[in-house]
Each structure stands twice: as structure tokens, then as C-alpha cells.
Symmetry: C2
Subunit: 199 residues, 2 copies
DNA sequence: CCAAAAATGGGTTGTCCAGTCCAAAATCGG
DNA sequence: CCGATTTTGGACTGGACAACCCATTTTTGG
């Protein structure tokens, strides 16, 4: 993929481009960002982007990877504690609080890209799907532990997917309505469902 | 809004343009559709679109209205029967079956537009939000009836929003993964939650 | 210290597309 | 049936943007 050898400086420049592109695409949506916007925001000049990326598609793929990692990093402290109701509720609170801080703008960094590209960019769609699978696996890991311990009836695989799905819906509705209530209500309903299955 | 007087023929042409635009935007995403694509698909020529719409934004607003109505029409048979668990389950089955028929393409006609425009088109975002409110009201109406009858504990307003939100997440995840399982699992979890609160 | 490789700057190009214009044809209202 | 209004056709424009190119500077490795 990256046949080119990169020096430390080159690596840093490449990274600045990806971070700037990710931020802009998150704020404005993939299609509303031009390579010139990215160029300006990253503080690089002219041909720099094409020196590090074959085309806009290659940059987009790097952005998806970067956002997936960013999402995992942001929740790292919570994702490995999803094996108790208390841990699940703390995660829920953190997600809601985060959206509140962002004034309900942007939605999910992965999902908003996914929705933008789903119907005309199969490669990007698959990258987004794979990002979701990582996220889902992290949630499943907590619920599976709960289940093994005998603290959870019901299929932890289904519950993990249902939780992530409700979260995605909550982020979308919250973004559209500019109000955290859909996210709160959807997560609370799903957590009550989990609680009803736990002992 | 539409100050212009339209003859029957003009009305028909206007409608062909909106329908064609809605279909294309659903298949490819709002930003991937050019006015020339719409022109060709609607079988109209040159200045026609600008004769009936001030600009692309005005056409988009008409498309959002049209899609909201189409979503409501498509579910009309189910939405007024959401006052029993059987009715809710029939609705769930119809939604899943519909996605299966579409091979999980396109997602939600309203939500996919919403996600595309949320961060850079406040007017369109508000129109989408208002479409969601209509949809939510229809669901709420069923659950409220159930509640009044004493067949449902828990807040019907919250449950309606949670259901619609889970549905939106399910449609998004199903679109990205090209698989109906997320939609099934999310709706089933939410319906089990409702069932647990009903008697 | 020196060649080779990598990084940078900025100009250029070809295409696509939203929006405009004007004139011709069809339709309507009286 | 006739003047007014609406509908249609198609050409044109101006700007934006992805992608390309080449010359210059900086960095690397031996």
C-alpha cells in the first residue's frame, strides 16, 4: 500500500494531513471538504497531499482508519469496564456528556462518513463496516464476561450489536435534532433491557 | 413559497422532477446527484428544473417533503396498529422484509439525507427533523393508546422515541453491513423491552 | 561531505456543474 | 380565436476542484 519510504518529517506531515482532513470531514461532511481546504488546514502546500496520497480516495481511507482509532481511544477507559451494569451506565453517561459538550454536532465520526459513502464507494463502506466490527467486539467482550460469570441471561452477541445499533441511532437523531434526548432515551431503554436480563 | 401558477401539465412536470431527484438521491446520496442527472432521469430538458425550483436547495427541500410523505405512506397500514404487541411485531417484520427486498441498500430515505446535510445545511436539517417528528408522533400515538388502556407501563413518549431511534440505527448499520441482522436485533431488543412493560 | 532520495512550493490543466439567458412552442383564459 | 401566460429547448458562462508537473530545497545514509 504505502510503498514510499517516509522520514520522520514526512511521517509528521502525512499525519497532519490526515488529522486535518478528519477534523474537516467531521465538521462539514466528507463531500463538503476540498483538498484545498485540507491543504490550508494542515498548513502544507500544493502538491503535498498528492505526495503522500494517491488521490482523494486514499486520503479518505486513511481518515476512516484514523477515526476508528480515535473513537476507540476516546472510549478506552469505558470499553473495558462494560461487564457490569455500573460500567455500562458510566459508559452511557460519558457518551451523552460528550455529545452535550459538542452541542450535538457531528454525530458519530465513523457513522457520518459511512452514511456519506455507503451507496457510491464500496471500498470506504467496507472500511467503515470493519471499524464498526472493532467497536462491536469491544462491547461484546464486556457482555460476554458478564454472561460467563452468570450475571447475564440472553445472547451477549445480540445484545452487543443491539447496543451499538441503538447508540448509532441515538447519535444520528441527536445530531439531526441538536438535542441529546434521543441518545439518552435509546441508550436508557437498551440498558434497562440488559438490566432486566441481568442478576 | 410557490408563488408561480402551475397548469396541470406544469404540476406533472414538477412532480416528475421531484420523484426522479428523490430516487437518485436515495440511490446515490444527495451530493452525488447533479441537476443534469435529474434532468435526464425526469426526461425534461435544460432550464426546466430552474423553471420549477429556484435552485438545488429548493429542489432538495421538495425532495425531503416528498420522502417524508413516502415513508409515512409506505407504513400507513402498520402505523395505525401500533397499539398492540402483535401490531408492533407486524410492523417490525414489514420493516425487516422491506430492507431485505432492497438488499439493504439506501438506508432510511429521510435519515440518509439528514446525515448528508446535517452539518452544512441548517434549513434541510430542520426539514428532516420535522419529518422525524411526524414519524415519531405516529408511533407515539399507538403506544399512548396502549398506555391509556392500561396495557403499557412506562412513558409512551420515551418509548416511541427509543423505538424510532433504534430503527434509525438499525437502518444505518444494515446499510453499512449490507445485512439485516442489526435492524432485526435492535428492533427485537426494543420490542422485548416494550413487551416487558406491557401486560 | 556528497550523491541519492525525500519533501516542498506553486503553477497549470481539463473537467464538471450550478445557475443564466433567450427564443420557440404549447396552453390557457376570456 | 387571440393575446397573455406558461412550458420547453438548448446553448452558454464562470467558478470550483481534483489531479498533474517540474523545479527547488531539505534530509538521509554511507
Amino acid at each position: 500500500m504505502t510503498a514510499k519510504r517516509l522520514t520522520a518529517k514526512g511521517e509528521a506531515t502525512r499525519r497532519r494531513i490526515v488529522v486535518a482532513a478528519a477534523q474537516l470531514m467531521y465538521e462539514r461532511g466528507v463531500t463538503e471538504v476540498t483538498l484545498d481546504d485540507v491543504r490550508a488546514a494542515a498548513g502544507v502546500s500544493g502538491s503535498q497531499i498528492y505526495h503522500y496520497f494517491a488521490d482523494k480516495q486514499a486520503l479518505l481511507m486513511a481518515v476512516i482508519d484514523h477515526q476508528t482509532q480515535a473513537v476507540m481511544d476516546l472510549q478506552a477507559g469505558h470499553l473495558d469496564r462494560l461487564d457490569t451494569m455500573a460500567g455500562l451506565r458510566a459508559w452511557r453517561d460519558a457518551l451523552v456528556e460528550h455529545q452535550r459538550r459538542l452541542q450535538c454536532r457531528g454525530g458519530c465520526p465513523i457513522g457520518s462518513i459511512g452514511s456519506d459513502v455507503a451507496e457510491h464507494n464500496p471500498q470506504a463502506r467496507l472500511a467503515v463496516a470493519s471499524g464498526y466490527l472493532r467497536w462491536e467486539a469491544a462491547i461484546r467482550s464486556g457482555l460476554t464476561a458478564m454472561h460467563r460469570r452468570g450475571h447475564l441471561a440472553g445472547d451477549p452477541d445480540d445484545l452487543a450489536l443491539a447496543l451499538l445499533t441503538a447508540l448509532q441511532g441515538g447519535l444520528l437523531m441527536t445530531q439531526i435534532h441538536r438535542n441529546v434526548r434521543p441518545l439518552e432515551v435509546a441508550l436508557d431503554a437498551m440498558l434497562e433491557h440488559v438490566a432486566a436480563l441481568s442478576r
